[in-house]
Symmetry: C2
Subunit: 313 residues, 2 copies
């Protein structure tokens, strides 16, 4: 999936913060330093970090806190990418246009680097939230555990890897996408939204939004993987792996046309939820902005043949 | 190293808490559940958990909080064992008398299980500390990052694995032991001691104690590894690996006799620091108890030929 380039320059405060808050590698072992340098110094689109920064700022957190929280979520994401690419998982060769760190520096320094990022992420989240009310901190801790642990990312990745042994149904693909990709959106949306102490109805809408966005994101990624498999192109990461490794791919499981329809339907559902949220409290408008700037633009790239009007966005 | 068996039964509150607070594996992928079951259901001596429980209780934390904090530290330790045994690290075959989980369930579920334990550990630490003053929570977050991240466990393990490429000196062995084993004692001693808001002098003594205990523990472990290599015995974990894998081993680097003398000297240093601490505040006495119950007993087993009097303990 080719995403529209969001602003990304050395002067970008999030790019600067990512370097500033990263684990201190001075005097550390060479390969560990090498992996961390590559992981932190070669950022992606920073979608999640930008979402968290916007959320935290909107909900009244100061500049440093918002950037710490944004970096925390980005480090969790970076750690998951380092591990996903390992030989025992996706066995990827390249990531973000470069040879994967485990192929340059070894598997052990890569695993250790992911741990360094996770530890730093928890420390930053702890620092950023230190001044918040007890009930917000408790909710945030529970949310991180659910997003990153067995109910979320860890459990989803385990199912993902065991997919070949499953019934390989579209239902199982959806279940995995909800756990894996849904969890990372949950982390980027629901986690910082806890700062605003959402009421029951808002909480319900926010969870639905994470699910719709997560599933749409995964479906677009799967469409992209299928297209690359067909064309033989390479867009910076090892592609076509879903087919060759019998990994869950919605476009393979339910067909390309049905998958595109599904993306369109998820966009409609997300828009409905966003409308309800912004009608309830105008402060949720940063989510609508993200939907327009990121999802609408991407959907147009992935589904060019669909009329924009039929997507109701 | 054969440690004296501390009380360990199914009715043990720490053993019960370890099961109760472990990641919920109901409905989770089979291999993930298998690794977590084995890791949590086959506890070791629980030295660190007992230390944390004693510290937290002494420093006024309620029963649930103390057990949560104890489980958090034990889960961090279990996660590090799962990863240490992987083929890309120590390539161990057995642990605690059983085949290592990665050899039964695969490397990926093992890496994911260690992440599940780490996430759960952070959540438990967050819950246990939620009611503490902001400055205690901030200090605790910083301490976890230092213990577990690049300055501590992660950095020490990276140096450990790169040992073959180093000068293999006794100094490098000590540096690695201080980072790796020292960090885990730091986690079990210094981290819960933060609840008592130690002053500068107490902080200094506590850090010294972690270093002495960590180095003594590692030296005794290295002596044990060497003895097993010589005798061909196997005591539940893959032994004799330090020699075969060119891993840091103090007894190999500086000789057996010198290592035993070093252990005796470290015991004297630890006792001196403990005396200063308990003279300052009687609440530190739980550390003196641990020294007597655990270290004195172990040292007598490892150094039977040394007169107890010469060790001044």
């Amino acid at each position: 999936m080719v995403a529209p380039r969001l602003s990304l320059s050395a002067a970008d405060p999030i790019v600067q913060a990512l370097k500033e808050y990263s684990p201190d590698i001075k005097n550390s072992e060479t390969h560990l330093a090498g992996v961390l340098n590559q992981a932190v110094g070669n950022p992606g689109k920073l979608i999640r970090a930008r979402l968290v920064d916007a959320a935290a700022t909107t909900h009244g957190m100061d500049r440093d806190g918002a950037l710490q929280l944004a970096c925390a979520v980005e480090y969790f994401h970076l750690a998951s990418l380092l591990l996903d690419d390992l030989p025992c998982m996706d066995d990827a060769q390249t990531r973000r246009g470069r040879t994967c760190p485990h192929r340059v520096h070894g598997e052990a320094p890569t695993i250790l680097s992911s741990l360094a990022l996770i530890n730093r992420a928890y420390a930053l989240a702890g620092f950023a939230l230190a001044g918040e009310a007890t009930q917000i901190r408790l909710a945030a801790m529970g949310c991180l555990d659910a997003c990153l642990g067995v109910p979320g990312l860890v459990g989803g990745q385990a199912r993902d890897l065991a997919f070949a042994e499953s019934d390989r149904s579209a239902r199982e693909v959806g279940r995995i996408a909800a756990a894996k990709t849904g969890a990372l959106f949950w982390l980027a949306i629901y986690f910082p939204a806890l700062l605003a102490e959402p009421d029951a109805e808002e909480g319900h809408h926010l969870k639905a939004l994470c699910l719709y966005w997560g599933l749409a994101f995964q479906a677009m990624d799967d469409l992209g993987d299928l297209a690359i498999t067909k064309s033989g192109e390479n867009q910076g990461k090892t592609a076509g792996r879903d087919y060759s490794m019998t990994r869950p791919n919605l476009a393979l499981a339910m067909g390309e046309v049905a998958t595109k329809r599904r993306v369109a339907r998820l966009m409609v559902q997300a828009t409905r939820v966003l409308t309800k949220l912004t009608e309830r409290r105008s402060s949720w408008f940063y989510l609508m902005n993200f939907h327009r700037e990121y999802f609408e633009a991407n959907v147009r790239l992935v589904l060019p043949e669909m009329e924009a009007s039929s997507m109701a966005i």
